[in-house]
């Protein structure tokens, strides 16, 4: 069987619902076999284990999962609501800001859309935002944090790109810095658009309340230091990204299991 036919067969299986990891594995095996190096697919895979710092990914994922299970999304939405809920388009801006923060807390591991979307989408609908707008907003905001530290895609990109001799070399720290401005622009643009859409939504007539804000801050007091800890730890240079991930996971684990019980 020719290699084109084999690849075509694998792509057909992909369209029919074969898990994508098996599709990638299959294409690698078929291609490398044609070149006579089929072992290379597995040595490369095993070589992943030689990358220092890859452990950051499971550890940030653990932190994100624990946070979403501990009710952190609700506390974050409450806090953003107390802060921004009285603006026109307030709830939509709350959704954007809360999603961006939660993603930053959890390394953009994909839990944001599940954890926040399930909370925010019904709220947006109930407040009178159009269905398609609400769905689109939650989906877009859920990937917003991709640009903010410590997002896993950025870390992964850094791991892959760092060994390649580019000039200047790609470092994860630089990637995090580079994400800040475009991320902030996207936040601002989405929020401006939310205000525009929000004109058509009946006002909640909710006034800003310093008391509610303070109590929301107290409610989220264990989550709030997290982005500061994570960013400070990444940039002071003593700890590697994987070590920051370990500390984040340990902090969240202790807070969730010991402090909040």
């Amino acid at each position: 069987m020719s290699i084109e036919l084999q690849i075509g067969l694998i792509l057909l299986l992909a369209a029919l619902g074969m898990p994508l990891f098996a599709v990638i594995l299959g294409i690698a095996l078929v291609g490398l076999q044609a070149a006579g190096y089929e072992q290379a697919a597995l040595t490369e895979f095993y070589g992943l284990g030689d990358m220092p710092g890859l452990i950051a990914i499971p550890l940030f994922t653990l932190a994100g999962y624990l946070l979403s299970e501990s009710g952190a999304p609700k506390r974050l939405v409450r806090l953003s609501d107390a802060l921004l809920g009285s603006l026109p388009g307030g709830l939509a801006i709350v959704a954007i800001v809360a999603c961006a923060f939660f993603t930053a807390f959890t390394g953009a591991s994909g839990v944001t859309i599940v954890a926040m979307g399930a909370l925010l989408y019904p709220a947006l609908r109930a407040a009178g935002y159009p269905d398609r707008y609400s769905l689109g907003l939650v989906t877009a905001a859920g990937s917003l944090g991709l640009l903010f530290a410590p997002s896993l895609p950025l870390i992964l990109y850094g791991f892959i790109a760092a060994p390649i001799a580019t000039n200047p070399t790609v470092s994860v720290q630089d990637l995090f810095l580079a994400g800040l401005l475009p991320g902030a622009v996207m936040l601002a643009v989405l929020s401006a658009h939310a205000m525009w859409v929000g004109r058509a939504v009946p006002s909640t007539g909710k006034a800003f309340s310093a008391r509610e804000l303070w109590s929301a801050v107290k409610d989220a007091r264990w989550e709030l230091p997290l982005p500061v800890i994570v960013l400070a730890a990444i940039y002071q240079g003593v700890l590697a990204v994987s070590e920051v991930a370990a500390l984040t996971a340990a902090y969240v684990l202790v807070v969730t299991v010991v402090v909040r019980r």
Partner: protein, 175 residues
């Protein structure tokens, strides 16, 4: 009767996988924290810590993949299968799962060969353990995955209600 024995064996296996996953993740976390404390506090480190944690990530990934295939939660393009009537779905599902099993089996076979050639010229991995031992993850990980996909080929069509499932998760118990 054999049915219920099989079911119970499967449930036991799932529990063992879960325990192993939690243990591996907890162990890796503990190891990483201990290493940081040792390095910053005492300017020391466990020489076996780094290799163990690197190999551990691979083992963890394989265990996680096994867990995901148990619940059939591997990412796949489901646009076409979703539209199929039950009979056609069954055939297409069996085909794709068997194909995935075959590919995993192929990878396991190559992994076995790699491990064998490593055994002929072993290097030390960490004290008392040779370098082919962590490589066991290749044949066993992919081999078990292949087995999982063979089992999945006979699984009934899942009733999917993603929206309901997601909100259940978010509205779980608050602390």
């Amino acid at each position: 009767m054999s049915e219920s024995v099989l079911r119970r064996a499967l449930r036991g296996l799932h529990r063992a996988e879960d325990a192993l996953l939690a243990l591996a993740l907890g162990g890796l976390l503990l190891l990483a924290v201990v290493q940081i404390v040792l390095r910053i506090g005492f300017d020391e480190g466990l020489s076996w810590g780094e290799p163990i944690s690197r190999a551990g990530v691979l083992w963890l990934a394989m265990l996680g993949a096994l867990g995901a295939s148990r619940q059939q939660r591997h990412i796949a393009i489901d646009a076409i299968p979703r539209l199929l009537p039950d009979g056609a779905w069954r055939a297409v599902h069996a085909l794709t799962q068997f194909a995935a099993a075959a590919l995993c089996g192929w990878a396991a076979w190559i992994g076995w060969g790699l491990m064998q050639s490593e055994r002929e010229f072993p290097l030390p991995f960490v004290a008392g353990i040779e370098s082919w031992v962590p490589m066991l993850v290749l044949p066993f990980g992919f081999g078990l995955l292949a087995l999982r996909f063979v089992l999945a080929a006979f699984a009934p069509r899942p009733v999917d209600e993603p929206a309901a499932a997601a909100s259940d998760e978010a509205e779980g118990p608050r602390s």
